[in-house]
Point group: D2
Chain length 303, copies 4
């Protein structure tokens, strides 16, 4: 079965299953989204692409954006990055402070909120205008020259972000945030506010399936760095459901509370799904169901 | 560079590096092993094989044996297995009781000690003589008809196994051990006592690189189960260094405190290393160093 | 209001309140006790005494016995005792292993199960026949020359004591149990099996209200040691309800899962209550209610 | 030995012992204080008083002030207070976030930082100008009509208070802070900034030894509330050294990182000590040593 056939088949099957899970409710703006939206898009390294459902509709990519910021920091600092944070799965919820206390302010990995904040702090230390520089980086990687932060979503998150404010000051208290927490948080909330469609997401992250190069041939990461980012997405990309996702789907990936998921089959393709209802671990229910069926139908996974 | 060339090159480089780490000291019998031993062996799915160093010398495979018992239980119970234990990385040390208390006696995965004990318990419930049945299974998978438990090592572990005795009774107190803890522990200590060489280990686990079939064509697991075991070894195979191993080496694998490691490149090969000195996380220091260099030289990983 | 009047009044009021809570169900023998039993007895340092309800009926004193073993060890080792365990409230449930892991095998205090086991271990190291010596000590303190262990209850606890077996081996794994865990556990289960009536309990512990001397004038502890045991009962005597008990009742004391409580008003009296139904924290519901009302009516507490 | 004699004797002995411990260094302003300061003052319920050393020199009372705010909130809300926070010892460090996560934002007691912030939040909800109202309350209780907040110390704490900012937002994320975290923190930092001498402190808290009434006869708390505050100081007043303090000193009390301690002997006296060097648990080393010797010499404690 070709990717396109498998995609259409899996989409149809999952579309007809009863909708389960609940959309994220803690960010006011996200509650305004129609929870029955469902789209999927695939870009292969051979240049082909296909999509279906609401695959051209922009959604809040939320934590998927943490892959962009990680890649940007990685290009700047290389392996020096890992003095400030780890590469291990956290074993606890994405916004837990418990582990951070045990680990003296060193976040377990760059995909939990604490780790993403340390990455923000690193970027702030590197640039005069980090928000503009980051946007420029994403625009280049995603080939979306007109992409903007959504101030509407950023403000909405700020209004309810007490846990994140707590996290940032907590890391600061251990000395692992170097800039003003207010600035780090402002950057962090903006970073999570980006809106893209499945088609745009699967195109943007195709470089991770392509040895670090965009389809046009521009190197974003070198091959070794690319492998490592994929490894990190495999072990840490789905909060405390990362093991289950590897077990069922078998691809590196990253999810966001907006209901988006991006997954990579190295040397083959990048696929993105969007459906706002989340399972108990905070990952898109239909997104996970679709990807499990899709990899079963294609009979391919990295394992 | 061919696998064989990469293996020889990486072995030479690591052999000349200063020996670091310390062999496991808590099991008396393991302290008698020469800590400078170093061997490696690879079996490819095309039937070729190669090895060097002390690759033909038997060592205590310890926790590597947990892959055997997991596969055996998986063939018997299928996905029903996962009512008794999870598939998530633990985030804490291999013998921690903390997480087990939070998770009400459900071990995070089958490779931490608690999970391996639940697997033992499952096998005991299935068979009249589980120790003999298990040995028969390993003999078949490994094509080693004369393999035996090492009562010397099993007794040595029993003599110092207070933490494991505590673990087993603790799980029992939550109702997730159904048989007598003494019987579960006896089986567990015997299971960990197997001795094999790198050559034997890489041959035994070749089926995991071969879609679930031995090189002679016997199906041990079906293709879907095989992928899932590989996924589990990727996310959980190296205790709380699993993320780091995925990050640096990029292959599913399993380590033991005897200094052995087995790693799988699905559809390509199975490789085994042995060197008794362990790093701070309890994995073979030279084993990890060798595999990192080996996958760099072959320019191949699953990512 | 005299002690006797207050006792009768409080007993009457609480007797007429609806029975709440549940008796301990995890020890089979304890479930055979009539859960509506309710007795109370007071012994004052002036020699007077009074009781009502089922105050002359023997019940399983369970953890109350840990005060006896602590006092016995204290007389033998003095302050040297505190190298093996602490004097701080635990903040977690009485049989938790979490804190023990963080504290590397040093129990927080002698009244949680882990601490009581270390005390048993200490007594075993001191005596050829610790069970007989301990019984002799309690017989002397309690003036009950015919007191015996209840093998019925000890065996019942052993049959379900997986958590305690786990605890003991766990402490052993840190080196803070010096004797065989089996011997420590056997002593521990016997120690908890003593059966006494409210009248006997309040008489036995009167020395803690009397500067360390029995009413006949025999010194069990010196005045300084007596104060310290009382302080320990104040801060640690009621598991993770110790703060609440100090807050509401304001007296040092110790409870057991058999539904017994002993409380001390230094220089004034010792009072014992028994009612098998326990609140959510494992302390006798009517026992706590009675003591709160009793201290309110007498308008006396140590604070 | 009279209180005065015991005080002078204990002061002399401890003065000649080698200075141990380190003053608090995390608040810049506190590091400017001469770490060899040592003063003590006692006020008895019979109206007598005595002091020695630097007993008339003002120091930063820090967390001792939390007893004032607790009493003020208690008079306003009565037992309704305990819906928002508990009365149990915490078992962990004073500024830990771990327990707060497990307890879903309900602080264990009013003396850990989290609990004191909830008390601040309660007072803010009660008053238009809580800072002025609180100052008025303390001025009345302490009979110090000219007492002021030290903006110098409040600002110094704010400049390094990341952990406290984290705590406050963390509680807010559970919904147990009702007002703006910035306002709560401003009040909290001011509350901790009060400066008083040993003489003033022992006079201010004499009402807790006097059934709730000041020496002039004004009722601050009723007798039942007074007992309960004393009980709380007994079980929770010294962070995770509360058990040790009860064990060695046997009096309810409260310490601050400025090196001050206040202790109460109900119906007898209130005593205050000040010496800036702290032990490992954050309590004044000489303060604890002095009080242990003092209660030994007077042969009196509540136990």
């Amino acid at each position: 079965m070709t990717y396109q056939e498998a995609m259409l088949k899996a989409f149809e099957v999952v579309s007809h299953q009863k909708s389960r899970g609940q959309p994220a409710t803690y960010i006011p703006e996200l509650t305004k989204v129609d929870s029955e939206k469902f789209g999927v898009h695939i870009h292969a390294t051979d240049g082909s692409e296909a999509g279906t459902g609401h695959h051209r509709e922009a959604f809040s990519i939320q934590s998927i954006s943490k892959v962009f910021s990680l890649c940007m920091a990685y290009t700047l600092l290389g392996e020096g990055l890992w003095h400030r944070l780890g590469v291990e799965p956290s074993g606890t919820a994405f916004n837990s402070l418990v582990q951070l206390e045990a680990d003296r302010g060193i976040p377990r990995n760059p995909f939990i909120n604490a780790g993403a904040m340390v990455i923000c702090d690193i970027l702030i230390s590197q640039f005069k205008d980090p928000k503009t520089e980051f946007l420029t980086f994403v625009r280049k990687v995603a080939a979306l020259p007109h992409l903007h932060y959504s101030s509407r979503i950023a403000e909405s998150e700020k209004s309810v972000g007490n846990r994140n404010v707590a996290l940032c000051h907590f890391i600061k208290s251990f000395g692992n945030i170097h800039n003003a927490p207010e600035e780090v948080l402002d950057f962090y909330f903006n970073l999570c506010s980006l809106e893209m469609s499945c088609q745009e997401v699967s195109r943007a992250f195709l470089f991770l399936a392509n040895g670090g190069k965009t389809i046009e041939g521009e190197e974003i990461l070198n091959p070794s760095q690319t492998k490592r980012i994929n490894a990190l997405m495999q072990t840490c990309g789905f909060y405390d459901e990362s093991g289950e996702f590897a077990f069922k789907v078998g691809l590196p990936g990253k999810s966001g509370v907006g209901g988006g998921i991006v997954a990579i089959h190295p040397h083959h393709y990048c696929i993105s799904v969007w459906s706002p209802r989340l399972n108990a671990k905070g990952n898109s229910q239909r997104g996970v169901d679709f990807l499990e069926l899709f990899t079963t139908l294609t009979e391919l996974s990295i394992f």
